[in-house]
């Protein structure tokens, strides 16, 4: 393991689990959202057909991506928007910085962009003396807390309202101890209004980029992305290359799936289409690869690029609910993050595909039918073969292979193990055994099934 490696998922999740009440609260909050999703999707008898359709549209796009990107670019240019291509996060950040510099300002408002989290844009711009204010309420809250988002749709889902009250007291001047959501929301509203009115440049993410028309769609509930974009003189939109859909009519599939999957709402409050700059405004689209074309070339993992960032896999994941988004130490957490991250840095994120029981619930809720749990299994094989595992684990697995490949050794070892457990239980019942820490070992039976069978059926 590299010295750069931060704490791994198991360790961070262990820390999260030192406060069981908090784990319960986190689990129940997200389970409630999963239930809202269930209610919403069960109102559509054609739900499974919608998922299948969306999956197939995305498959088609991924198989023809370069053509669609070029078509999109041509239409965007015809609409009077400037297009930039960024091979990686660094290029993306530099492009954004150049645009800001050109306009001689040192601050910007931003909303709804997980891509800029992935690229660490805020840190980059801060180093270059540019202040960024995130205007999505959840994003603003984690920004004030100097934390990354813990969830792609609900960035501050790990924070209780009392903690948000404390942050607002410290940063936005609300009275101490106030945690009434209405008061806090109104405070944020007033604070952000001033930001919207004074920032010349606004950056938003992109949910869907329509190749046919060159327009892009941004889905939000608060409308803050719209406030930023409409009041700005310069609107920058950052998008990954996989955000393309062929035609406008396909929004009829994706918009129905996105928010039902995400929060159980029929549709986001705002699904805003941006097509051309208004008179006097300047618009830029930055189209970012950052490892996506590499992932597209990985046969087993290319489907991960179908993701529309709804977060349903996080809400349903029993591990995510009990370990918190930050335990994934990546901009995108949860099951989808665990299959995307190793593509960016296999060593840094070698732990993530193992942070799962492979229960498969994620693949079942996925609105574009990504085989998430199968990909987790496949990443495990890739990571071990690439050597990003501990020597102790490999040694243990080889002993297991040796034992289980030979019936004689297996039966002898099994018997020995049961004898040890019976006569020397302290050999396994101790804190060196992670099973025993909070669980009892099975009681060793007098005989194995194999032994029973030989006695009872062997002579027939």
């Amino acid at each position: 393991m590299s010295a750069m490696q931060t704490k791994d998922h198991a360790e961070l999740a262990g820390q999260f689990n030192t406060d069981e009440n908090r784990v319960d609260w986190h689990d129940e909050t997200l389970w409630w959202i999963r239930q809202k999703r269930d209610k919403a999707v069960n109102q559509l008898p054609e739900w499974e057909l919608l998922r299948e359709t969306a999956s197939k549209i995305k498959e088609h796009v991924l198989s023809n991506l370069s053509n669609y990107l070029e078509a999109f670019e041509a239409n965007v240019l015809a609409n009077g928007i400037t297009v930039h291509w960024a091979a990686d996060a660094k290029e993306h950040n530099e492009i954004v910085h150049q645009i800001i510099k050109k306009h001689g300002v040192n601050r910007m408002v931003k909303s709804k962009s997980m891509l800029t989290e992935e690229c660490h844009l805020n840190e980059y711009l801060a180093k270059n003396g540019i202040e960024v204010i995130d205007s999505d309420l959840g994003e603003r809250i984690v920004q004030l807390a100097k934390e990354p988002p813990s969830h792609i749709v609900l960035p501050c889902i790990h924070k209780k309202k009392e903690e948000i009250g404390d942050l607002f007291h410290e940063h936005l001047g609300t009275p101490a101890g106030v945690s009434d959501p209405q008061i806090l929301t109104e405070t944020a509203r007033q604070h952000l209004r001033e930001v919207f009115l004074t920032r010349k440049i606004a950056l938003t993410g992109v949910n869907f980029a329509v190749a046919e028309t060159g327009e892009f769609v941004v889905c939000t509930n608060e409308g803050n992305a719209d406030m930023g974009a409409h009041l700005s003189e310069v609107h920058i939109a950052s998008m990954g290359i996989e955000k393309i859909i062929p035609n406008r009519e396909h929004l009829g599939v994706f918009l129905r799936l996105l928010t039902r999957s995400a929060t159980g709402q029929p549709i986001t409050t705002y699904s805003s289409h941006y097509k051309k700059p208004r008179s006097g405004q300047e618009m830029h689209i930055v189209i970012v690869d950052n490892g996506r074309s590499v992932q597209l070339g990985r046969k087993d993992f290319r489907n991960s690029l179908k993701c529309i960032r709804c977060g349903a896999c996080m809400n349903t994941c029993p591990v995510y609910r009990r370990s918190g988004g930050h335990s994934y130490h990546n901009a995108i957490s949860g099951p989808i993050g665990s299959i995307l991250a190793p593509n960016l840095d296999m060593e840094e994120y070698a732990d993530l595909p193992f942070a799962s029981t492979l229960c498969g619930s994620c693949s079942n809720v996925c609105p574009v039918k990504i085989d998430i749990h199968d990909q987790l299994y496949k990443w495990r094989q890739v990571i071990v073969k690439a050597g990003y595992t501990t020597k102790a684990k490999t040694a243990g697995m080889k002993v297991m292979e040796w034992t289980l490949s030979s019936p004689g050794i297996y039966h002898a070892a099994g018997k020995a193990g049961r004898i040890v457990m019976k006569y020397a239980p302290f050999a396994v019942n101790n804190t060196l055994n992670p099973w025993y820490k909070q669980r009892d070992m099975p009681k060793p039976p007098a005989e194995s099934f194999d032994e029973w069978y030989k006695k009872n059926r062997g002579k027939k």
Binding site: H9, N17, N42, W47, P318, T357, C359, I383, T389, Q438
Partner: protein
């Protein structure tokens, strides 16, 4: 019809009762059952840990042991799913394909192949059914709550044939128990918390027994129940289906 009985390694070593019940139940239903003595493990513990390349020995052994049977039946959804999805052989891929096609988890074998409609089992207790993920979402022995689709459950269909058995409802019908193979030790904290939560759902609804088609999940929950000092027991579904009035 001759069935090869596959008893997963940890059931052989720790839960012979589940294996005996499986054998007796199949025999009671008129099936000829053979237990090949040289069997060990399906190889899943290695494969799920990322060491699928070390499972060649297990795969070859499995093909040696089970190729000749009409069906291969096992009281473990998880091991059967592993065989179905990952059993391969460089030299004998045709045989591997045949094996993958004829492996069955016990409850699906009873409902889909034997098509049994009644049992003379009696079990006058309150029972909670744990839907193990690999059997449910992998082998699809029960409908999954995430999907918009008609409900069904092969284990439940069988439990409904047991006299006196009272099935308790659960708040979360098909949430994972957190066992997850090596996950249970590698991610100890989350695994235990998932197990504790799953167990308390059953306890809250008054279960006397927790059952299911996968002993590994039950072993995990049993470890938690016993540590809590609870009297609630785990029992493989074969043991309930094989039980009689005493």
């Amino acid at each position: 019809m001759t069935v090869g009985l596959f008893i997963p390694c940890y059931i052989d070593q720790f839960y012979p009762g589940a294996a005996i019940a499986t054998l007796q139940l199949l025999e009671k239903l008129g099936v000829t059952v053979v237990y090949p003595p040289k069997q060990t493990c399906c190889g899943q513990p290695m494969a799920n840990s990322g060491y699928e390349h070390l499972t060649t020995g297990c795969n070859e052994l499995f093909i040696d042991n089970f190729s000749d049977f009409d069906y291969i039946v096992s009281p473990s959804g998880s091991c059967i799913l592993h065989i179905k999805d990952h059993l391969h052989s460089e030299g004998r891929e045709n045989q591997a394909v045949q094996v993958r096609r004829k492996v069955y988890e016990l409850t699906e074998f009873l409902t889909d192949v034997l098509k049994i409609e009644q049992l003379d089992a009696v079990f006058p207790h309150k029972v909670g059914l744990h839907q193990s993920c690999h059997g449910q979402r992998g082998l699809k022995i029960s409908q999954m709550t995430e999907l918009v689709a008609a409900p069904f459950s092969k284990p439940l269909q069988l439990l409904n044939m047991v006299k006196g058995l009272e099935l308790i409802p659960l708040n979360r019908q098909d949430e994972c128990c957190g066992f997850g193979g090596t996950f249970c030790v590698a991610e100890e904290a989350v695994s235990v918390k998932m197990g504790v939560d799953r167990v308390s759902d059953h306890l809250e609804h008054g279960a006397e027994y927790i059952t299911g088609a996968d002993m590994s999940c039950l072993m995990h929950m049993e470890g938690i129940l016993r540590r809590q000092g609870s009297n609630v027991k785990v029992l493989h579904i074969a043991e309930i289906l094989n039980s009689s009035a005493q």
